[in-house]
Point group: C2
Chain length 355, copies 2
Amino acid sequence: MVGPERDKHWMHLAIEQAHKGIMTCSPNPPVGAVIVKEEKLLGVGWHQQAGRPHAEREAIANALDHYTPEDLKGATIYVTLEPCSTQGRTPPCTAGIVDAGITRVVYGSTDPNLLHAGAAEKILQAANIQVSTDVCKDECDRLIRAFSKVQQTSMPWVILKSAISLDGSTTRPPGEGQWLSSPESREIVHQLRNQVDAIITGGNTARIDNPSLTLRSKKVISKNQPWRMVITQGKKTDLPTDLKLFNDSHADRTLVQENGDITSALKNLADRGCNSVLVEAGGGLMAAFLEQQLADELVIFYAPLITGGVDIGFGNCTPKVELVEQQYTKIGNDVMLRAVVKRHKKTSDPQTVSP
Amino acid sequence: MVGPERDKHWMHLAIEQAHKGIMTCSPNPPVGAVIVKEEKLLGVGWHQQAGRPHAEREAIANALDHYTPEDLKGATIYVTLEPCSTQGRTPPCTAGIVDAGITRVVYGSTDPNLLHAGAAEKILQAANIQVSTDVCKDECDRLIRAFSKVQQTSMPWVILKSAISLDGSTTRPPGEGQWLSSPESREIVHQLRNQVDAIITGGNTARIDNPSLTLRSKKVISKNQPWRMVITQGKKTDLPTDLKLFNDSHADRTLVQENGDITSALKNLADRGCNSVLVEAGGGLMAAFLEQQLADELVIFYAPLITGGVDIGFGNCTPKVELVEQQYTKIGNDVMLRAVVKRHKKTSDPQTVSP
């Protein structure tokens, strides 16, 4: 492999590493790193949890498990995100890289915090380390898009999840059972819950379905219960006190936002360290997220049937919404569409929500 | 390969042959045949057009282009459909097989005409020919399902085609251009037109879109213009006389069904030799096909956007419709779902249609 192809190859390995932290690293972004010398992989690392070492230090430690400090001198480190250059809960990675004698740093994304962006490049170059940036930038940026959004807007990345039938319904008619999509699709939803920091539902859904919004994926991982946020059009006191959300063992992880105020709900969650939230709600609340341009991503399970029902799901949404970066995956009898909402210019007046 | 696996292997080759005739063979069914002796392929054939030789005779002729009549003796013929045993426009294939000295016949589907079903097996066995039936039966039956339906019910196989958005709309809002689905999906629709004997639309669609319903696939094939049938709720004289359907070079291929009578429209088309029809219409007429249980298959292009419009597409359909045999294919930015309508017991009163 020649230069750019070789860099992409190793960066893809770093991206793979980053994915390992995707369910546990929040509020930090997922980051992966690999250390390579003379085409030989010396070490790998990923950021596992806030407060624990960053990916670069994990990779250096991993390399030193098998090689001598002398072996690392002159190596290249590939890291998905620009190394941190300031003292946080852990010492700056730029210092660790310099200390290890690494002589080339290749990274994908620039630090989304505009105060730090590009700082590592300068520090490393001043230490005579060669720096290459923007390698596999799109894939690396995608990995941290929730973190980036919070950094830049103080609002979390919002994923709307829904199943829809051919007649545009997001639910089965009353009396026909709760689920529109297949068991395989519902397992994917549980995996999605593992990847977010909060789950939002609407007051009506809370009343009608009495959901628990807990983590029940078959892929068991050690992760805290995400925040559970009920956005209700009225007052908290209007909600039934016997809802599971208020009484189960995670009752201290349930929040209520009154007056259908989505913006306040999201700000509240961002303040609590949430980078990403999953909305599992009816058509009214989902439409409000779209109309107020507060949704970033849609995860849709196309269920191959006509319900013959009256629920109109996304038919509640009056503006046109275009989607980009479509990814389709066959899940059981359904097809899952994952796509990003195309940004248009913001409307001046946020509208009220009908959850 | 051992016996059953070997038979499946050669039958798949016969099925491939059958597919070659799929756009041109109607009102006959697509049939393919291959001749094999001692694991060696001697000849292949498919039925190209009504009045021309059947697949078995094509395969024998193809074998004799390269081999002697002596070589064919003791061979096996694999054919997707039970060979015909009666004199039609062409002499019976059973006789051709006996005359060629073939000693084993393997077929997939039994003749769907109940008067002839199984007749070939008896004739061939009486001539000391070994017969194996039902090899790859499901795939072979699928190949001729339109033909089988007409044979058994005197009604054609009906395919409803539509694009739908996430909000269940089948059209863009007024003023936003005609197409919901991608250019790639529209090319697939043109290929579908190549595969059917008639295209049905509704009176309203004829008025609003003034479609030509002609063959415009980039995959050019020599095929007659399918019948074009407008099902209107009122009288023929209510339709504008300047519609393309009434004035273009295929005007003699346009039919009108009055009073929204779908059953009469389909019977009329079956009488004209149509095995399969494609419905390209609005939600009202499509719902009527489903409600009257006159639709066999759906071809749906999922368009990844929310139109914010008011059209409700399949939301016009009141009974629940379940789909089976789902096949999903990514087409441009869309996903195409092709699926068969699950049959429930028929309602007693056919309802009227609102096209």
